[in-house]
Amino acid sequence: MASIIFDNVSKTYSDGVDVIRQLCLTVEDGELLVLVGPSGCGKSTALRMVAGLEAISAGEIRLDGQVVNGIPAQRRNLAMVFQNYALYPHMSVRRNLEFPLRMRKLPGREIKRRVERIAEMLDLTALLERKPKALSGGQRQRVAMGRAIVRDADAFLMDEPLSNLDAKLRVQIRTEIATLQTRLGVTTLYVTHDQVEAMTLGQRVAVLREGRLQQVAPPGELYRRPANIFVAGFIGSPGMNLLRGTMEEKDGNPVLRLGPNRLILPEQVLTEHPGLQTRPGESLLIGIRPEAIRLADDLAEHSLPARVHAVESLGHETILHLATDLASIASDATDPAASTDPAPPLIAVLPGQHRFRPGDTLQLGIDIDGLRLFDMSGNAVG
């Protein structure tokens, strides 16, 4: 067991592309940390640097306190599960599971004992003599997991291990991985592009964008208090809506102006954004979760008119794409203040089924308890 520490780690490819920029991150001993981000953000590169499959351009990676920059992969005692599993096609399942133990020159009896214990644990006993080709995707995935846990590795590295499975299997194995990790208590760094996987698996989640760490927090915190508009848009499905608004003052209390409405902010929002008091007259980005938008009844104090653009009905909930008069901003805008991209639609998620059609107009209400406020550069108001 060991902790994994990235200390100011950078990775620059020979063509001058910076994939990782000064990454500082600690995976605590026994923790499952998920590294998540859109494709090309450098998350797999970060993982491969820990593994020793990729050289480190600058900074240090420490395993259990020891700098491992110059140590080759085979001497780091880390186990890795690959996206395509990397099972040895010419070896049976048993041989695949034995391989890391044989490489460590364990005695034959010990190898047999361990392989059989792991096979039982992962329900692979009946498949031991088969070749990987004769296994289903889920079974291959379990063999790959087995090969990782059969030896006492200091930490597990997982590179999108579920992305080749169908949706149903993914949910099942996701739970299995979480249970297994808790049971074994092995430090695990898990890379994925799927925020649902990140939220359900991670004890903490690190969000990476273009090689830069955006935020590290437990899933709930990441959802409630995203550190910037990128995290706000990336976490949650669909992500947070961002609308332009202005801070005003009324009777000495801060009031948020959103289109025609003046919203008196509840205590909860004010305590989470202490900096607000000092910003009267300033433009802000207002983050609203799609789940916090509801249909306004006629008696509502504040309501927003909107026109339905598109409807996605999932059965248990309905996703509405809405056009409003409010200025909305894309969460991946690099400079939200100057963004000239066409405004993205406002997204609302309503529980249950609704019979809206494109072109319908309706009145929206907003649950303002969960508002998240960002300054115009995209960072959360402190």
């Binding site: 593994a51 020793g52 499959l53 080759p72 992969a73 085979q74 001497r75 005692n77 880390l78 186990a79 890795m80 690959f82 395509n84 990397a86 099972l87 040895y88 096609p89 010419h90 070896m91 391989f99 890391p100 490489m103 460590r104 070749k131 080709k133 090969r147 590295l157």
Partner: protein
């Protein structure tokens, strides 16, 4: 096979190729097979008679032919493993992502492009007798003067090894290219997985590279074996089977029989034996490769 409305068209399109195959491969082979059971001899005034297995009995009691078979077997036994090992070593070296590998790949492949007759003439010069011959001079240099000059191609002990050496030099480039292609189709992920599992370079070679290279290796070894049995050009140009039958081969004996001694029937019997040998090797290859398909 199920006939569809496209079958007549397909047959029509295949006819030219089928005709060519029948005319130039099937017909000559059947003729040879038939002639092998006669006593046909060009220029002989006697009528041709069926003699049954007599020709086969004769060639298998002919010391020259048996020597030729033995030479072929020895040649294959030495050249196939050495050439494959050399080609594998070259392929592994040139599979590194280093500058200049393309130049070396080209250099090592060049002998394959040269016509064998030209190669044979040049190597005859290399093997020139006397201390000024290139090979003699080199060996003298390497042995600090202990090597005594030999006339390689006229030495009963050295003639066959001399031909083996040049054959390996000429043939390994072809094998190397095929093995290189095989090496490059091994997924990088397997090496990464093996490294994570604690395998060093040597263990990766034995547990990943060689098993993954099994099919290309079987292929090149069998092609080389067949080529080894077809050994003719080098012998014809460099030694004419000599000295004292030290370098004669089945092909050489066959050509000698039909073109020098006009013994058509005897040559046909030899050709049939040669065909059966090659057939057996091919069958062996198919069996080995099929096994591999089943296991992966």
């Amino acid at each position: 096979m199920q006939a569809s409305d496209q079958t007549p068209t397909a047959l029509m399109l295949a006819i030219p190729a089928l005709l060519g195959l029948a005319l130039f491969i099937l017909l000559p082979f059947l003729t040879a097979l038939a002639l092998a059971f006669t006593d046909l001899r060009l220029g002989s005034p006697l009528p041709v008679e069926l003699v049954g297995l007599e020709q086969f009995r004769r060639i298998f009691s002919d010391a020259d032919f048996l020597r030729a078979l033995a030479n072929n077997l020895l040649f294959a036994a030495v050249v196939v493993p050495l050439q494959t090992a050399l080609a594998l070593a070259l392929a592994l070296l040139l599979n590194q992502r280093l500058r200049g590998t393309v130049v070396f790949r080209t250099l090592f492949f060049m002998p394959v492009v040269f016509p064998m007759s030209l190669v044979a003439v040049i190597w005859t010069l290399i093997y020139a007798p006397g201390p000024n011959g290139m090979m003699n001079a080199l060996l003298t240099l390497l042995s600090f003067g202990y090597w005594e000059a030999h006339d390689f191609l006229r030495d009963p002990v050295l003639a066959l090894p001399a031909i083996m050496l040049l054959s390996i030099w000429q043939g390994s480039g072809f094998q190397m290219v095929i093995l290189l292609a095989g090496l490059q189709s091994i997924p990088q992920e397997l090496y990464e997985g093996a490294a994570m599992d604690g395998a060093g370079r040597r263990q990766q070679l034995f547990h990943i590279t060689l098993p993954q290279l099994r099919n290309p290796l079987i292929f090149v070894m069998l092609v080389t074996t067949i080529l080894a049995f077809r050994l003719f050009d080098q012998v014809q140009i460099m030694t004419r089977g000599g000295p004292d039958n030290a370098t004669t081969t089945v092909m050489y004996e066959t050509v000698e029989a039909v073109f020098t001694r006009q013994q058509v029937a005897r040559a046909c019997a030899m050709a049939v034996v040669f065909f059966l040998l090659v057939l057996a090797i091919t069958w062996l290859q198919r069996r080995l490769v099929r096994q591999q398909r089943e296991v992966t």
